[in-house]
């Protein structure tokens, strides 16, 4: 039992370690991303300052809160940008699914670990951006550790939620080779409904309703709202419960959809 | 009146030296270091219209740089190139209209387009007269057997088909000079033959001048009457292929794998007249023997038999001398004897062109300094 656990953790660890190497292969591109994101942040900050030029609060948030939110949301946006669909589409297109299914580890868990490691790496790579946001754009972070705790757990849950959601989405790759179009639609929706470009509080009620029906907000808005102080820490337990329900539902659904799709591939020879 | 004239042509590359990593990059910014690599070193030659010239050398010798200089892609560091009376770099467009280039395995055809569409576009680019285009298309469909390929896109073609298509595209505008870089590489013998036949026919009927760079000595033998050999940027031979064939075509090499080590220096082997030991390995433990013999003096069976009498052989293989070894020998003056004897027979200069050469076909030291790149 201990043997098996150690072996599997070593395997998962090896997978997780692979991800950073992939990302750091192009370091000039890293600098490009950095500059591009600073430009983006600058635009955002000026935009929101202009928005608040004549109003002290909007939808109950003042300029400081909104700026905090937007800066953090931009830094944490990797959590809604997923690679799963691309990986899937690639595998199906190249006819490699069969090989992947033969690997001695749970297919889905392997990708989950890779996704989590990817997120961790993206966040680490964004630390310089965080520094700039703090020094130049006046980002203020909470001092209370409770806020950080609320943030951390909800981020972890949120990332998992989105991972399993995208898994279902990616199973569609089994049914069509042109997955790129689908992923573009998903990107657009994720960007908006996750709260990456504006806090959900500012959306009209009906749009907020739609956002609550989608899993995107659970992965970004929830954690960022804790960290930016928009949502008080006291709401944390309730938020976590909601996320847990989402997660359980999606894990089950994703495994069902996946086994159905795999059957299609193995029967038809993908 | 030569169609190509190359005078004192030189190309020097300035290669920046940079230490790896970020600190290296910063250092390079403040104190740049470079070395000069002379890719082409004061070469002279001229080509008459209708000639088929083989341009050979090992990789890195300067072949592709020369071709790029001839086609106008590169600017010379010193010296002159004249193709059809024009400077191919300065009068790039005018020169481009009259030349065709095959760049080894990089096809000029569009990956996803059917062959006929690619050809149509090429014809448009080169402004081929529509009636003439139709004629040539029919001709090429015949001689290159393209009739069934016209609707096929390049991505679906085999290597041999691709090369046939490539030749059609290259010659469709009836260029006066064609540069072929490794046209038969990777092809099987039958396809190679067809391609060589086609090139020969074009040269015969249209008088197209052909400059052929290749590693395939079969190509050279079939197509070229004249061969230019370049090594380390310098011309080391420019003359008839008959000389090379006579001198090297008769050699064969046998490599023996032996049971017991034979690498002991000083070991003597009893080998027949006309054969010589090339190497018996680098260390005492080696189990390999390489012998070279002159086909006109002795035979493979005699050499093998005589050696096997002395040494237990586990395997052996027979091969022609490679380009690299031929070039090395030429460089070492191996052609000298042949040329001297030819000169005696013919009573004339064995080498073409009126330029400074000693009798071995090697070039005199450059008298001017070498200009570095821009």
């Amino acid at each position: 039992m201990m043997q098996a656990l150690r072996r599997s953790s070593k395997m998962y660890g090896a997978i997780a370690a692979m991800v950073p190497k992939l990302y750091l292969a192009y370091s000039i591109w890293f600098w490009m991303e950095f500059v591009v994101q600073i430009l983006s942040m600058t635009i955002f900050v000026y935009f929101w300052k202009a928005v608040y030029a004549n109003s002290a609060t909007i939808a109950g948030l003042d300029l400081r809160q909104t700026l905090n939110y937007i800066l953090l949301a931009q830094i944490l946006v990797p959590v809604v940008q997923n690679r799963t669909i691309f990986n899937f589409g690639f595998l199906v297109r190249e006819g490699m699914v069969g090989i992947e299914l033969l690997r001695p580890m749970d297919f889905q868990t392997r990708y989950y670990v890779e996704s989590l490691a990817g997120l961790a790496l993206s966040l680490v790579l964004k630390l310089p951006l965080l520094l700039i946001a703090w020094l130049v754009f006046g980002l203020t972070l909470p001092s209370a550790p409770a806020a950080w705790g609320a943030f951390a757990l909800s981020l972890l849950l949120g990332q998992a939620i989105l991972f399993y959601f995208d898994w279902i989405f990616a199973c569609l790759a089994f049914y069509s080779t042109e997955t790129w179009g689908l992923s573009v639609v998903r990107e657009g929706m994720a960007l908006f409904f996750s709260g990456a470009i504006l806090p959900l509080n500012m959306m009209p009620a009906w749009l907020q309703g739609v956002a609550n029906l989608l899993p995107f907000a659970q992965s970004l808005y929830v954690p960022v709202s804790f960290l930016s102080g928009i949502t008080p820490v006291s709401d944390a337990p309730r938020a976590w419960l909601v996320q847990l329900v989402w997660l359980v539902g999606l894990v089950i659904a994703s495994r069902v959809v996946f086994s159905v799709s795999v059957r299609k591939v193995t029967v038809q020879g993908g | 009146m030569p169609i190509i004239r190359v005078d004192n042509l030189t190309k020097v590359y300035r290669i920046n030296q940079k230490d790896p990593g970020l600190s290296g990059a910063v250092k390079a910014l403040f104190r740049p270091r470079h070395i000069n690599k002379v890719a082409v070193d004061h070469i002279h030659f001229s080509v008459e219209p209708g000639e088929v010239v083989g341009y050979i050398g090992v990789n890195g010798a300067g072949k592709s740089t020369t071709i790029k200089l001839l086609t106008g892609i590169l600017m010379p560091s010193a010296g002159q190139v004249q193709v059809m009376g024009r400077d191919p770099h300065r009068q790039r467009v005018a020169n481009a209209r009259d030349i065709g280039v095959v760049f080894g395995q990089r096809s000029q055809l569009w990956w996803d387009l059917a062959l006929i569409e690619s050809l149509n576009l090429v014809a448009r680019i080169y402004d081929v007269d529509p009636a003439r285009y139709k004629q040539l298309l029919d001709q090429f469909s015949e001689t290159l057997e393209l009739k069934d390929l016209l609707r096929v896109p390049i991505r679906n073609m085999s290597l041999g088909q691709k090369m046939r298509a490539e030749l059609a595209a290259t010659l469709i505008h009836e260029p006066k000079v064609v540069y072929l870089d490794e046209p038969t590489i990777g092809l099987d013998l039958i396809v190679k033959e067809r391609i060589r036949e086609f090139i020969k026919e074009q040269n015969r009927t249209k008088g197209t001048t052909v400059i052929l760079t290749t590693h395939d000595l079969g190509d050279i033998e079939e197509l070229c009457r004249r061969v230019i050999i370049i090594d380390n940027g310098r011309l080391i031979y420019d003359g008839p292929i008959s000389t090379i064939k006579d001198r090297f075509g008769k050699y064969r090499t046998i490599t023996f794998d032996t049971l017991a080590p034979v690498g002991q220096p000083g070991t003597d082997f009893n080998i027949p007249e006309g054969a010589e030991l090339v190497t018996n390995g680098h260390s005492a433990e080696d189990r390999k023997l390489v012998l070279r013999f002159d086909r006109t003096v002795t035979s493979a069976s005699r050499v093998a038999a005589s050696l096997m009498n002395e040494v237990e052989v586990t395997d052996f293989s027979l091969s022609e001398p490679g380009l690299a070894s031929i070039i090395k020998q030429i460089y070492n003056g191996a052609l000298a004897e042949a040329e001297v004897s030819e000169a005696d027979e013919a009573g004339s200069q064995p080498l073409s062109g009126g330029h400074d050469q000693d009798v071995f076909g090697r070039y005199c030291e450059p008298s001017e300094g070498v200009e570095t790149g821009p």
Binding site: I28, W29, M32, V35, V36, L39, S40, T42, I43, Y46, F47, A50, V51, A53, N54, S55, I58, E178, W180, G181, V184, E187, G188, M189, L191, F192, I197, L198, M203, P204, L207 | Y13, K68, T71, G72, I73, L74, M75, H89, R92, V93, A96, R97, I99, V101, F103, R106, Q108, W110, D112, L113, E117, N120, L121, R124, I125, Y126, D127, G373, P374
Partner: protein, 262 residues
């Protein structure tokens, strides 16, 4: 000149033949950009719903600025997209040499090789935004205004293409020109909004250094009757000068390429 137009037509035709092969991809490509745009526009609409104006600019006025920028951007997207991959697809593989042995201008050849149909989607989005916002704002479509918009969009496109060309030319030295091109290209996002929301420094950069401002803000200001003086008429001049500079830079890069053979 005429011959080049004719030739471009041929390149275009062949490109469409290739694209028709991948019909699904064609449709997806043309409509994909719409989704990304939609998310951003929706956000702006939501925010504008909560405030009277953005420093004196109404939602429709902002749409006009955004739309003009998108139109100009789409021209670059459609006609000059191949410049992005000049390093990876042509210089690194040696494919660029092919352009140099053909009897046509290598820049023309590079651009004509790839008309990017995705840009059509962008163009339509921009056109719809301009049409909708100008109707809502009651901008009269007099012949002068129409002519002005056409010139402004073409100038804007020229500015985009010129900047694209300048950054792409770096490929002759460093091969991977994409990071540099991406950075300069991304500054156009500033011009999505009226330049007045930024500080003086940024305004100067976007007007005189990386003049995307002339693709959106200044023409929009003119159409909206805002007083910007002679800057209203400067777009074509700025575009022309920038294009000239960019072509010079390109030729300089070409000379370097034939000097060093990369």
């Amino acid at each position: 000149m005429l011959r080049y137009l004719n030739l471009y037509g041929w390149f275009l035709m062949q490109r469409f033949k290739i694209l028709m092969e991948y019909r699904m991809n064609f449709l997806i490509g043309a409509s994909s950009t719409v989704f990304i745009q939609a998310a951003g526009l929706l956000a702006i609409w939501v925010v504008m719903g909560q405030i009277p104006t953005l420093q004196g600019w109404s939602f429709d006025e902002i749409l006009l600025v955004y739309g003009l920028l998108t139109l100009a951007k789409s021209i670059n997207h459609m006609f000059a997209d191949n410049l992005w991959t000049i390093g990876w697809s042509y210089i690194r593989s040696g494919g660029f040499d092919r352009f140099l042995v053909r009897p046509i201008d290598p820049l023309f050849h590079l651009l004509a090789e790839r008309f990017c149909h995705d840009g059509i989607g962008n163009f339509l989005v921009g056109a719809v935004l301009v049409a909708r916002s100008s109707t809502a704002l009651g901008i009269p479509w007099t012949p002068l205004n129409l002519f002005y918009v056409v010139v402004a969009v073409l100038s804007g496109g020229g500015i985009f293409i010129a900047l694209n060309l300048i950054t792409a030319t770096s490929a002759f030295w460093i091969m991977d020109s994409i990071p540099l091109t991406q950075i300069i290209f991304n500054t156009n996002d500033f011009a999505r909004f009226p330049l007045t929301i930024y500080n003086r420094g940024i305004q100067v950069v976007l007007t005189w250094l990386i003049p995307y401002g002339f693709a959106s803000f200044y023409p929009a200001s003119f159409l909206l009757g805002r007083d910007i003086g002679w800057l209203a008429w400067a777009s074509p001049l700025v575009a022309a000068i920038l294009l000239l500079i960019s072509f010079r830079v390109w030729l300089f890069g070409l000379r370097h390429y034939s000097g060093t053979g990369s």
